[in-house]
């Protein structure tokens, strides 16, 4: 017997009033206006909990760990009331063949109606046997579950891009999900790991609207990956003012100056760290004093030291988006960042002039 999300909430003793409040808060946290609240509530009232099969390939489990850190909604509420997390080997009670039987059952009962969530990626070297599940290559399990899924979520940089095990020389020949699954919609939610609330918001969006979020050309939800960290960084005024940290723990570091000269990758990294921030908005890497290492970008491991200053990446205005960078990043133009700084300096001089 299956129930709708709303029925489940009601059966769990949650009042309609609280339910509507939940809908409006969730809509607000997704950046949606009050007009969407009714639509959201209607969706919740009519849908059963969607089965989610969460598979793990080569990974470090940081995505699962991030997911359970979500505050809005709480991981507890996602698992008990929003989705039906029928398989996730990190937290599930069953083991061995009892666990594997769940995959077969859900595939059969919910053909085309379940979501496959992928954490990690499949290795192709060693006959695929550097990641074994049930005595077989992980790739087999992945393909089996993918075949009848409705859509795939590629959690984190492993599933989206390859991440650390795929850094040169990639000894296991680990590949991202889209390199082996070609016939399903794939939502990439990159980051090492992704922000907790970004993960749960992607799930909440799908459950709420019954459709996948709008994606950019690289397959990432536009709502979270359309701006660079630099664009909304609270230290951006220091960049524009030419105030930089020059050495760790110097006067600038203590004043929260811009970390660009310390190698910060914020100017080339598309993510929501400087807006949503981390762990319920507590902070984010730049606020804690270290530059961004660009962990949501493809092949960020092989783009030079964390501490090497960006000099060869073409800069764009704040209105630019990931698609434009995707289209032009291949032809990198040297010293453009310096030009960006120069423009900022000119603007600064102009403003000064106006004030005087």
């Amino acid at each position: 017997m299956t129930e709708t999300f709303y029925e489940v909430l009601r059966r769990q003793g949650i009042t309609r009033r609280s339910f509507l409040k939940f809908c409006s808060l969730t809509a607000a946290s997704l950046g949606l206006g009050p007009a969407f609240v009714g639509k959201f509530a209607h969706a919740m009232e009519t849908k059963p909990r969607i089965p989610v099969l969460w598979l793990h390939g080569l990974e470090c489990t940081c995505c699962t760990e991030s997911f359970i850190r979500s505050a809005n909604p709480l991981a507890k509420d996602v698992i008990l009331s929003m989705i039906s997390l029928d398989y996730d080997d990190t937290i599930m009670a069953a083991a061995g063949h009892h666990a594997e039987a769940i995959l077969d059952e859900i595939i059969k009962e919910y053909k085309g109606k379940y979501i496959l969530a992928c954490e990690g990626n499949p290795p192709l070297n060693q006959d695929g046997m550097s990641c074994i599940l049930g005595g077989k290559p992980y790739l087999e399990q992945l393909k089996k579950v993918a075949e009848h899924s409705m859509a795939i979520i590629s959690w984190g940089s492993c599933a989206s891009w390859g991440c650390v095990q795929a850094a040169k020389p990639n000894p296991t020949h680990a590949v991202p999900i889209h390199k082996v699954i070609h016939d399903k919609p794939i939502i990439k939610v990159p980051g090492c790991p992704p922000i907790p609330e970004v993960m749960t918001a992607v799930v909440a969006y799908i459950v709420t609207f019954g459709k996948l979020p709008e994606l950019d050309r690289q397959g990432r939800p536009k709502m979270f990956y359309s701006q660079r960290i630099h664009d909304k960084c609270y230290r951006r005024p220091h960049f524009d003012a030419g105030q930089f940290v020059e050495s760790w723990d110097d006067e600038g570091a203590r004043k929260g100056y811009c970390l660009y000269k310390m190698g910060c990758k914020g100017p080339t990294t598309y993510n929501a760290c400087s807006t949503i921030r981390w762990n319920e908005g507590t902070s984010f890497p730049i606020q804690a004093g270290h530059g961004c290492i660009g962990c949501s970008e493809d092949a960020f491991w092989d783009k030079g030291s964390w501490y090497a200053r960006l000099t060869d990446i073409k800069q764009f205005g704040i209105e630019s988006n990931a698609d434009k960078v995707g289209a032009t990043v291949a032809g990198v133009v040297g010293a453009a960042t310096v030009a960006h700084m120069a423009v900022s300096a000119v603007k600064r001089a102009q403003q000064k002039g106006e004030q005087e």
């Binding site: 029928d86 937290i91 992980y138 020949h173 050495s247 762990n279 804690a288």
Partner: protein, 604 residues
Amino acid sequence: MSIKTTPNGYTLDDTGRRVVIDPVTRIEGHMRCEVNVDENNIIRNAVSTGTMWRGLEVILKGRDPRDAWAFVERICGVCTGCHALASVRAVEDALGIQIPPNAHLIREMMAKTLQVHDHVVHFYHLHALDWVNPINALKADPKATSILQQTVSPHHPLSSSGYFRDIQNRIKKFVESGQLGPFKNGYWDNSAYRLSPEADLMGVTHYLEALDLQKEFVKVHTVFGGKNPHPNYLVGGVPCAINMDGDLAAGAPLNMERLMFVKARIQEMIDFNKNVYVPDVIAIASFYKNQLWGGGIGAKSIMDYGGCPKVYGDKSTDQLPGGVILNDNWDEILPVDPRDPEQVQEFVTHSWYKYPDESAGLHPWDGITEANYELGPDTRGTRTNIEEIDEDAKYSWIKAPRWRGHAVEVGPLSRYVLAYAQDVGYVKEQVHRSLGMFNQLAGTNVDAKTALQSTIGRTLARALESEYASDMMMDDWHQLIANIKAGDSNTANMEKWDPSTWPKEAKGVGTVCAPRGALGHWIRIKDGKIDNYQAVVPTTWNGSPRDPKGNIGAFEASLMNTPVERADEPVEILRTLHSFDPCLACSTHVMSEDGEELATVKVR
């Protein structure tokens, strides 16, 4: 089919029925376990296989040593930060960098936050379902649960019968929906679950409470390292500069608000450990009082490098002192030195790697790793469809580390035995207090040694260590404030930041009391780049396959002679394996200086 005795004293009999568990769930990473049970369903042979391998260290070769922390941090996202810490320590050791006292205190607070977080999440979300039956909780009388809660933990504020009734109703509706999610296909009608419905309700309630609270604990990492999982580290100190009352302090990484925020999180950890975690473990253990098995080599042959020093670099200030105990002799603590090539060595006779001479072990500074995936002649199945593995041949992606040739157990239990045997007052008080409560609840009279050398003892030691870590963390916080008050706000030493100041060649080692046990990273630096990088991690020690002499490792030893209620529902096996908190991504990343050859690069 044979019966043989290992040099470390176990009789392995593989003539009985073979039971295979793959995947072993509720662990980090991927693992397989096979056992043989006799006609009485008692385990007579155990085989643990690490079933994943990522090859991180070869990826490090030729990179900037100052970048290494981020790569190795991704060895594991569960024990996030401990590899990064071992890495910066190894680099600083190699280059002779002294970090400021404040940087040490901040790193310690981060490490201890991880200790508490990891232990709590392990117990409630990876281990609890081995002891607690959430379905049985539906039969509980919430009023009786409330009384139980107030008996075992009088100071926990969430203890009313209404509170437990609400949780019970929520679980009831969840179960009745027919979509059981993570509880699906559990062994809920197995009589191996021994708790009363009231205790089950308390356990499942705290499962949810811990899930909500753990996300608060990690905010200490978010303040100091910018995010969690995977906070940022820095060679030479910490990146979070301190600005208490200067210009722009509000936008500084650390100011008064940030430090008070951290203090509040530390207090939450202390309260949860004392009011919930430790009492829960003791209360649950009292229902399993007749199951003091699963000790294996734990508490008999154990090792830790020692850690939580008050003054970094001064081992005499270690609050968890290290050492080695062999063969149950708690009166003799042998010194451990990670630099000594004769002490820590790794073997690959039964691992999917190749050595020129596989009868010998190699010290991590000289380690080699070349993948060699091959199965023995007695394997049932095929190369890509293993039905039963042949443990006489190579059978795991985990290497077999040994201390002077001895298989040893590492982890909170090992650290607690070492601390107890070395008269650490805080630890002795904890052990005696919790044992007293256990004996009172269970109506038994068990001594410390008997209680600790078991699956339950391993789980208890982890809870006690979590409590200790939270108290030590508050001391660290006060010391940081005292330093700042005395005029020291330094957080980084940049004298040797520039690679031009480095020697042409250098080597170093960094050790950490990681949540799962003794962690060591070894690095060789040449011409400013990483020349070789090796990590020997806790689950490599505990989950190791057999060595050339046939000694079995801690996982396998701990399962020996355990009775199982139903062989096809191996909850007892999961219970004991989980008591180690296995971390397979950690244990099976190992690579070497020659590892490049592993990449299948086709040159035309």
